[in-house]
Each structure stands twice: as C-alpha cells, then as structure tokens.
C-alpha cells in the first residue's frame, strides 16, 4: 500500500493549528482533524510534490519519518482517504 500515489482533494483546505491542522472539505462539508504536525507535513508534501510518481513511501522518506512509524502513518493516510481529504492521484499516461 506504500506505493500508492495520493494527493489532496482540490476541494479541501488545510489550516495549520497548534495540534497539527484542520482540514475542511467544501464538497461534503466535513471537518477533519489532523492530530500530528508530522502527518500535516506528509500530507503537504504529497500535495505540493510535482513528481507524478511520488508514492507514500517517497513522501515518508522525504519527511524523515522513521520506518518504525510508517504503519501508523499508513493508517492515518487511509483514514484521510476514507474521508475524501486525500485521493489517488490521476494517472497521466505518458505521450
């Protein structure tokens, strides 16, 4: 699952807060709490990254998240996908 390519839904706004960030989905009106600043960093990395092939593993590595914490991050990112904050990046076929 770490090879998935996720990105922030364009209808979602992320607002930094002392505990992490608040995400609001303008489409389904859901308010989501990102409860750790490291999760916020990873989400922002996934979103800002221009590389179309950036995977979850790439993002976790780039954000210096220790591998022992990866399972927890996978769960967090799964939950964010479930609530439509994140979604699979559209595959752009080359050429």
């Amino acid at each position: 699952m770490l090879d998935r390519q996720l990105t922030l839904d364009p209808q979602v706004a992320l607002r930094p807060e002392p505990f992490g960030a608040l995400a609001y989905h303008y489409g389904n009106r859901k308010l989501i709490f990102l409860k750790h600043p490291d999760v916020v960093r990873v989400v922002q990395y996934l979103d800002n990254n221009e590389r179309a092939e950036c995977t979850i593993a790439d993002a976790l590595t780039a954000c210096d998240i220790a591998e022992s914490r990866w399972p927890a991050f996978e769960r967090a990112l799964d939950a964010l996908t479930e609530s439509e904050v994140l979604h699979e990046r559209e595959q752009v076929t080359a050429g």
């Binding site: 706004a13 807060e17 505990f19 608040l22 609001y24 303008y26 009106r29 308010l31």
Partner: protein
Amino acid sequence: MSVNKSPLVEQLKGGLEAPICLTWELTYACNLECVHCLSSSGHRDPRELTTAEAKAVLDDLHDLQVFYINIGGGEPMIRRDFFELVEYSISRRIGVKFSTNGAFIDAEKARRLAALDYLDIQISLDGADAVTNDAVRGTGSYDTAIRAMNHLRDANFGEFKISVVVTRHNVDQLDHFKELADEFGAQLRITRLRPSGRGADSWHDLHPTNAQQLQIYNWLLAHGDNVLTGDSFFHLNALGEEPLPGLNTCGAGRVVCLIDPVGDVYACPFVIHDEFKAGSVRDEGGFTHLWKQSELFAELREPQSAGACASCGSFDACQGGCMASKFFVGIPLDGPDPECVEGHGEAAMLAASSSRDSAPVPRPMMDHSKPARPTEPERVPVTVSRR
C-alpha cells in the same frame, strides 16, 4: 472512555488560530417576533455594519482561513445586500450556512440560492404542525416555512436543513420532524433552547422537563450522525455511558464566536451581554486582533474551574454544561447547568434568586424587540407611525 479527556478536546479548549464555527448575525431586523429569539431581534439597528464594512470583515476571515460562516439575524435576507455579501463570501472561499424563517424565499430566490456553491440553508421550524410552531414563532410562520421548503425543493436546491429548537412542547414531535425532513430530502438539525435574548423570559416555560431530557438523549443516540445538533446537547452526556456524537465541550471564545449586526464580537451566539463582549470589528486590528488578543478570549482559553461541580462524578461527561444558560438564570459560571441532569440546577437557580447578597440575575443586552402591541390588533392597511 470519556471523549472529553482526549488530547484533541484539551487542545480545542486552548483555542485555535481561527474559529471553526463563527456565527454572524447580519441584522437585528426581523419579520417575526419569536418568543425565544436569542438575539431579541425585531427592528434594524441604525449602526449595523455597511456593505463595505461587512466585506472588509470577510476579507479578514479569508486571511484567517475561516472555512465557513453561519449567517443569522434577525432575518438575514431582509438586508438588501444579502446576496451581494453571500456571493462575496463564497468568492473568498468562505462557505455560507444561513438560518432563515423562509419568508423571503420565493421561487425566483430559491433558484438563485440553488445556483450557489458552498451554500447551506437552515429553515427554522419549532413545531411539526402549525399550532405548535406558531405558538412560539408567530401566526402564519409554519406555512411560511413550508412554502419556502417547497420552493427550495422545486428549485432542486438539494439537501437543505430544517432547524428545530427543542422545547417541552415539541419534544414529542422529534419523529415527525425527522419524517418531514425526509419527505423534503432535507437534513434535520435540533438544538438546545437557551435563556438568551427574549428566551430569558420564555425559557422557564419552554425548556424541556427532566424526563424529556432523557427522551432527547435517547433519541439522539438512536439517530446518531444523521441528525445535526451543533454539538449543543453535551450537558446530556451525564445521562449515560455513551457520549453523544460531536465535540462535547463548550467552544465559546475557543472555537466559536459571534459577530453581531453592529460588529460587536461575543464569545458565543447565546451571550449578547457586555460581560462576554471581546470588542468590535470596527476597533483597530479588526476581528483578527480580537480573536488572537482579546483578554476575554484569553481567559476563556485558560483551564476553567469545575467549581461547585468538582466533586460530581458526571463532570467529565457534561463539563458543567452551558455558560450562557447559567449566566442568564443567575447561576455562577462555575456552578451547575440549570438543566443539570443530576438535578443540581434547580437548587442553584433558587439560591441565585433568593440570596439576599447576590446580584440581580443579568438581563440580556441589545434588545431590538418591536414595541409591545395590545393583543393582536386587526391588520389595517396603513402603517401607523410608532416609535
């Protein structure tokens, strides 16, 4: 198990960079005179924010990344610049949820509303039939609301909300409200009655009885996330092991606040009183400065004393209840909620009103009620000038 001890709720109590839930009463003008109106609305205040001032506030809220605002009043659609402000807000990526009695939603307005993205509508209804509703909201107000709901449905607005203040007279109608909402493809929202505004006088006759509180709690547990509550019933959590859905803590000045029609900023929509006024959006620094620097909000974000409730086993569940409800019945802010499910509210209210040294029960401020009229006069086709 207690949801209130979660680190997240503790964080929220310390305040956020910007409000999650900001209510903005656009005008004190209203075509109705509901007996429980939390803002004692009736006639317009000449000092109300101009269109330009309101847009400047929206610019501030945009910079703060406020996701959405709850617009109310009075009746917000009475403002001539209502659509201009709503459209401006949405263009600044601030979603709008607005509360209305529906009087100004005709077929054309319904289509205009349906065309807007990021707009939610709450139609206020306090009875599942005309008799129950009109006793609180005034003659004809039930039909007015239903007419507006029909227009919204015809315009394919989608899922609007029906917003009910729960009273002892409509608590038995919760299933009917749900059926009505389902019939319209709407979502039901029920909220708690507070002794605020004109409610300070009507609350004593309207608030649910103790037995009815259990009824509300059980009904909410049965309906879960399908019914919205604005997280307003957290004082009921002491009734059982299972917490109600939602944040279950008082957000006043921490995640919630109110901007009133003249630009004054209060800790929550239910405390229009100088004691809970942080300042005005017209002050130097505007709303942003107030949210981040106001002394009142800083105090509210400090850990609060459990006071008289410290020794009660239910405090973790109910958090001492609602600040506004205590204030307007004269109970100290660290005392029990007047509707405390353990029954401590009655005694506290009695103590507040009978103690010889105690200050008089605070009265709501900013009364814009229309002048009292003799018992419902016949409607005459001329406007009699009155002060």
